[in-house]
């Protein structure tokens, strides 16, 4: 009875630079959606509801109780909406790897805006653009001025532009975790301190990974997953395959590992390792089994793309979060 | 000691021990004449079980036991063990041997009586009681041996006085550049130890001090030390060096073996411990002529420099003495055929050691000695580098004209020096002349093989003569393996001078009542078995003052000497058997 009397939670879901997978993961609640709707009103969700930005702008500050913001901040629109939703929301949740750590769009930091434009609008083999037209932020037509969001040089995570209350990692986050979190909010359970990662384990993957682990982590040659005959049981690292598991939070359900693929790190680092790539690089460096300089170099060369490997989901969050040369072209 | 000494005599049964012998007369003699309270004549039962022996000793409250009879030394060990167990020193067991067996009872009873009487008299005459053992130790000499021994004892929580005659500890090792065969930098491994000595609260460091006299007995010595006037207050000096900068008096530096100059107020070397300055009174203008005093004016600390300071005699009561006085190097001027002192670029190995040392006169550059404007021969950075260097082994060692002993370390340090030359001057040619290559220790032979591969000419044959020839130096030797005379022109000659006993050894030995061997090193009490003990219990020797040795052996000896001290103090029984020779001497105190 009392629950019915309580005002329903106001919920918003928004996507920045994202693939949409996160929104799908919200949809994946399936029949539980009814429970959600029973407890909350969805006040803003561009892919599902037709609510305009100006409607949101019209909301008083703190109107929305919870916003799930997925996607990273790639352009001025993302930036604007992040700020807007921050103002309007009591609890802003960075939902999914992209808003948490930059995610796959974050790999855009290996290139500058100019490089990206060149690739997309000129260099791609299928592109026919003899006039070398590029998107413009403002374009005057007869009807007036048209505008496009500004494409930023840099991809940022949500918390690099606004304050974030909670992080719900994953690419995409596990739907079960979302439901658990949501239910916790609804039932008014005591919330963890702001800034916490929710919906994931404190410990990293290895804690519950079922593969057999020993201290024999000595690597003479780095291998790609297809280069080994995986017995399905031995720790990937002990087989020479780089697995981000030790530097990645558990809670994802080990889907990759269960599917005999090493962890790529989408769930982000445990609490004391803010830069999982650096941590993993450090650990992997230690595992190289040689004291001879030339041999070490040879082994290191076996890692084809260290930056991409260690920072697949977290580049914008890394200590050095973008490639250096790009700005010079701007 | 308040409690009266209780002496017991045990007559040991003859070996085999079936026949009983009549000891009546001896027993009466012992009881009535010698007034020995406890006489045990049936020993077989006693020695059958160690516990019985202990019980008997405890029961009779024996503080000393005389073992008599035929071959009583059979039971010496067990009795000693029992005495140790009962809380007495092992030396409280003495032997009065019957010699040829019980036959003597009939033929030479008078002689037996005499011998027993004498032993007892000796025992009673021994007034030394060690129950007030002083747990402090004095270590004489602040080289690596003294440092190691002091640290070892101090780490056991015991008090050590470390006396060093120069202004800093460190000894010869501090002067070296690298150590063979690992080529560790000597300073890198030594200075932390020196700092540790300076900081250890259990170590009372007395530098610039000399031993004047020693009195007392083992366990309770009084050592009189002359603390020479440093004239700089150790507590307030902050080691800033301003005084030294301004001091006008220059003298040759002992630390750099005369290759550089130092001031009259100086710190022996930058890493010295204590890291404080001192005034060399003999060369100080103020002390000598009462003119100058500039150091006092520039010193930023008030009352730090005090010219009125006088030498001070202090008495240090200690229980043990460890001698670690080290060595002096052979005076190469004595070997006139090598022209040392006449030919400027003939150096001793110690000088060369300073020359290649990064902290040395040229900052580690190997250069020839050149003449400065005043005509002094000095090492100066930027002087021409020698292109050919000769190294002569066994200078002053293995030579009847000087020292017959082998100095043990010269072969290895010469190889090391050759290596360092090659390292610093890869194009230089090095010629080493040796007699036997004594690469004896761990990793040494391997080091020798490595050096051989570095392109150093290692020639068997002792250089007979070094002469000057048109600005170059001519070394004449026989290459024994190649069977030819080698006349080698070089730019620099390094004499691998041997080690000699220190000048003060003789006086020290007299003062302490210990012996020197024929070469002048302190004599250990048993060459194989007791390498760090001396004839005098309570005095131990460590390091090169006992005989030439390398650093690891010196360190091991220092620790071993410390072991004896700690052991004595820990056991509370002062001079256990380990301090004495196991040789048996009849009718004397055996321990």
């Amino acid at each position: 009875m009392s629950e019915q009397n309580k005002p329903k939670l106001k919920l918003a879901v928004y996507w920045g630079a994202a693939c949409g997978g996160c929104c799908v993961s919200v949809l994946d609640v399936h029949e539980k959606l009814f429970d959600v709707v029973a407890a909350a009103d969805l006040v803003f969700w561009p892919i599902a509801l037709d609510i305009k930005y100006k409607d949101v702008e019209a909301m008083p500050d703190g109107h929305i109780d919870v916003t799930l913001f997925n996607g990273s901040v790639r352009n001025s629109e993302n930036h604007h909406m992040a700020k807007l939703l921050r103002d309007k929301t009591k609890i802003l949740v960075a939902y999914g790897s992209c808003s948490h750590m930059g995610g796959i769009p974050g790999l855009g930091n290996f290139s500058s805006r100019k490089e990206i434009f060149n690739r997309v609008y000129h260099d791609t083999e299928t592109t026919v653009n003899p006039e070398r037209i590029e998107p413009k932020e403002k374009y005057s037509v007869a009807e007036g001025e048209l505008s496009l969001p500004e494409f930023y040089n840099d991809v940022r995570t949500l918390d690099q532009v606004v304050d974030v209350d909670y992080y719900l990692p994953g690419c995409p986050p596990q739907t079960e975790r979302l439901v658990e979190v949501f239910m916790a909010i609804v039932t008014g359970a005591e919330l963890p301190p702001t800034g916490s990662v929710i919906g994931a384990l404190e410990k990293s993957q290895c804690d519950e990974c079922e593969r057999k682990k020993t201290d024999n982590k000595l690597i003479k040659e780095f291998k790609r997953p297809w280069e080994i005959i995986d017995d399905g049981e031995t720790c990937f690292l002990e087989q020479g395959v780089i697995c981000m598991g030790p530097a990645t939070r558990g809670g994802c359900g080990y889907r990759c590992i269960n599917g005999n693929a090493p962890c790529k790190g989408c769930y982000g680092p445990p609490a004391d390792a803010p830069d999982p790539g650096a941590k993993m690089m450090s650990a992997i460096g230690t595992m190289i089994d040689s004291n001879d300089e030339a041999e070490i170099e040879k082994i290191v060369d076996g890692i084809v793309d260290p930056a991409g490997t260690f920072y697949r989901y977290s580049l914008p969050k890394a200590i050095i979060r973008r490639k250096l040369t790009t700005i010079k072209e701007n | 000691m308040t409690e009266k000494e209780r002496i017991g005599i045990i007559f040991c049964d003859p070996p085999g021990g079936h026949e009983r012998v009549d000891l009546t007369e001896l027993i009466y003699f012992a009881r009535d004449k010698l007034k020995i309270p406890v006489i045990i004549e049936q020993s077989r039962y006693l020695f059958s079980d160690y516990r019985v022996l202990v019980e008997t000793i405890v029961h009779h409250k024996l503080s000393k036991v005389v073992l008599s009879g035929v071959n009583p030394d059979r039971f010496l060990n067990i009795t000693r063990t029992a005495m140790l167990e009962s809380g007495y020193a092992a030396r409280s067991v003495v032997i009065a041997d019957f010699g040829d067996g019980y036959e003597a009872l009939k033929s030479d009873l008078g002689g037996l009586k005499n011998s027993v009487e004498q032993v007892i008299a000796n025992l009673r005459a021994e007034k030394k009681t060690f129950q007030t053992l002083n747990p402090d130790t004095i270590v004489i000499g602040g080289g690596i041996a003294g440092i190691q021994a002091s640290l070892e004892i101090a780490k056991a929580g015991l008090k050590v006085h470390l006396v060093e005659k120069s202004g800093t500890i460190g000894g010869h090792m501090a002067m070296f550049d690298k150590t063979f065969p690992t080529l560790d930098c000597a300073a890198c491994i030594l200075t932390p130890k020196m700092v540790e000595v300076g900081q250890n609260p259990n170590i009372d460091l007395l530098t610039y001090a000399e031993i004047v006299s020693v009195s007392g007995d083992p366990g309770n010595y009084i050592v009189t030390v002359n603390k020479k006037a440093r004239m700089v207050d150790l507590d307030t000096c902050i080691g800033c060096g301003t005084c030294s900068e301004k001091c006008p008096a220059k003298v040759t530096s002992e630390f750099d073996t005369g290759t550089t100059l130092r001031k009259a107020i100086y710190m022996p070397f930058p890493q010295a411990v204590p890291n404080k300055y001192l005034i060399d009174a003999e060369n100080c203008r103020f002390v000598q002529e009462e003119k100058c005093g500039v150091c006092v004016k520039v010193c930023p600390v008030e009352n730090c420099i005090n010219f009125d300071e006088k030498d001070e005699l202090i008495e240090i009561p200690v229980g043990h003495i460890i001698l670690a006085t080290g060595f002096k190097v052979f005076d190469a001027t004595k070997a006139a055929q090598y022209g040392y002192g006449e030919i400027p670029n003939v150096l001793t190995s110690l000088e060369f050691e300073r020359l290649i040392n990064a902290g040395g006169p040229t900052g580690g550059f190997i250069v020839s000695r050149t003449q400065d404007k005043k005509g002094n021969w000095i090492f100066k950075e930027g002087s021409p580098e020698p292109k050919k260097i000769g190294i002569i082994h066994c200078v002053g060692s293995r030579d009847e004209n000087f020292n017959t002993h082998c100095s043990k370390v010269c072969c290895m340090y010469s190889l090391k020096l050759a290596h360092l030359v090659k390292e610093k001057l890869p194009d230089a040619e090095v010629y080493e002349y040796y007699i036997d290559m004594r690469a004896f220790g761990k990793g040494y032979e391997e080091f020798y093989n490595r050096i051989k591969e570095e392109g150093i000419n290692i020639i068997r044959g002792r250089t007979a003569q070094v002469t000057q020839s048109n600005g170059e130096i001519l070394m004449r030797s026989e290459n024994i393996i190649e069977a030819c005379i080698e006349e080698q022109l070089v730019d620099m000659v390094v004499l691998s001078v041997g080690l000699e006993p220190g000048n003060e050894n003789k006086q020290m030995a007299e003062m302490l009542g210990i012996e020197l061997d024929q070469n002048g090193w302190f004599k250990e009490s048993h060459s194989a078995y007791l390498p760090v003990d001396t004839q005098s219990p309570g005095i131990r020797i460590a390091g090169v003052c006992q005989g030439p040795k390398d650093i690891p052996d010196t360190v091991a000896q220092a620790s071993a000497a410390a072991a004896g001290v700690i052991q004595n103090i820990l056991s509370g029984r002062v001079f256990s058997s380990s301090t004495q020779s196991p040789h048996k001497t009849k009718l004397e105190t055996v321990s």
Binding site: - | E400, I435, R462, E478, I480
Partner: protein
């Protein structure tokens, strides 16, 4: 070629006066110090080594000991007190015995009784000859004036009687010649033996025939000058030795070749060449004798520290010969015919054994061996040089 080591040689060498040579640990100090040593003649160490190992054949081939003049510096600075210089001396004795085919030399060196007996017998024979065949004139003592010449000196050829006494001088001269022949015979045969051992037995060299002549001057030169000795650091030895050498040679030549020229009745004036030469020789001998005797008694010097009996016998014999010779001369000049006769007999009784024994069999023989050693050594060098040249040309 493999050689067997023979520790027995040591015992042999001890008999020739060997001291502590086994102390040597082969540092090479002695060789490097020696101003005379060359790459072809590494001594003393090489010799010590061969001796220590008992390689006697190699030693016999080796002339190095003769090239050493025993300045003693090597022994002085030897780090082990091994007396390399003295060993060279011992080896010279041993070599002398080795070259001597008669075996007498070995006996004289190793058995004192043999040497003394030999000296005694020869002296006795000389004295016997005089006593029985050439006794003094009957009135030699009672009527000395009769035997004086105008100048008041003794007429030396008239002081004997006996058979054919007027040919006294001829007897003596003949005796001298016989003596010279004997020693020449022994010496030459010994030198031939030396040649056999040093040159012929050494299979490693083939002496080019020409060299025998081209190198011959060295023999003469070194015999006359002792030039090598002068290279030793202490020159005073060389001076003494040269004085001795020349003096001795002069006297020897004079008595053997020119006796009739100066054993004459009249006294020649002092500036006569014979007398001047004679005085020079006497001075030379006396200088050497005094110098050596004092040195050996005081053991002042390394080379004089160890005195083998043969050294003393040599000094004593030479000394007595010289002194008796001087006395003969003085008695002659002062007109004491009887004294002249007796000292003359004594002089001969010492001189003859000395020359007969010392020259071919003992110490004095080095007079000949040394220059020959140098000669042979140069022959070998020449041979090696040629061999090297041939090899070089072939290459």
């Amino acid at each position: 070629m493999i050689t067997r080591v023979n520790p027995g040689l040591k015992k042999d060498l001890v008999e020739f006066g060997l001291q502590d040579w086994n102390d040597c640990f082969h540092c090479g100090n002695c060789t490097a110090l020696c101003p005379l040593t060359r790459n072809d003649n590494l001594f003393p160490r090489k010799g010590i080594r061969l001796a220590q190992m008992g390689l006697s054949e190699k030693l016999a081939t080796n002339v190095d000991p003769w090239l050493c003049y025993y300045c003693g510096e090597c022994s002085d600075s030897c780090p082990r007190g091994a007396q390399p210089g003295e060993l060279m001396m011992v080896l010279r004795r041993w070599l002398t015995a080795t070259y001597d085919w008669t075996g007498l030399s070995r006996k004289f060196y190793t058995r004192k009784s043999w040497e003394f007996s030999a000296i005694g017998i020869i002296a006795a024979v000389i004295i016997a000859i005089f006593v029985f065949l050439l006794p003094p004139a009957n009135d030699l003592a009672s009527n000395p004036e009769a035997y004086l010449n105008d100048q008041g000196g003794v007429m030396i050829n008239s002081m004997v009687t006996g058979i054919d006494s007027e040919h006294f001088m001829d007897y003596i001269h003949t005796g001298d010649l016989i003596m010279a022949l004997i020693i020449a015979g022994f010496l030459i045969s010994n030198i031939l033996n030396m040649f056999l051992k040093v040159i012929i037995n050494d299979k490693t060299v083939r002496i080019p025939f020409r060299s025998y002549f081209t190198e011959f001057w060295r023999l003469i030169f070194n015999f006359g000058t002792q030039a090598r000795f002068s290279k030793c650091d202490n020159k005073s030895y060389w001076v003494g030795h040269l004085l001795l050498m020349t003096g001795y040679t002069i006297l020897f030549t004079m008595i053997v070749a020119f006796l009739p020229k100066f054993q004459i009745e009249e006294i020649t004036p002092w500036y006569n060449w014979q007398r001047i030469l004679g005085y020079y020789a006497t001075f030379g001998l006396m200088y050497f004798l005094i110098y050596t005797t004092i040195g050996r008694i005081r053991k002042s010097d390394q080379k004089m520290r160890f005195s083998h009996p043969s050294d003393w016998i040599f000094i004593v014999l030479l000394g007595l010969t010289t002194i008796s010779g001087i006395l003969v001369h003085i008695f002659r000049l002062t007109g004491l015919p009887a004294m002249t006769y007796y000292t003359y007999v004594i002089h001969l009784a010492i001189l003859v054994p000395m020359i007969l024994i010392e020259v071919p069999f003992s110490k004095w023989s080095h007079l000949a061996y040394r220059p020959f050693a140098i000669y042979f050594d140069h022959l070998k060098k020449a041979a090696r040089k040629k061999a090297a040249k041939v090899q070089f040309a072939a290459a």
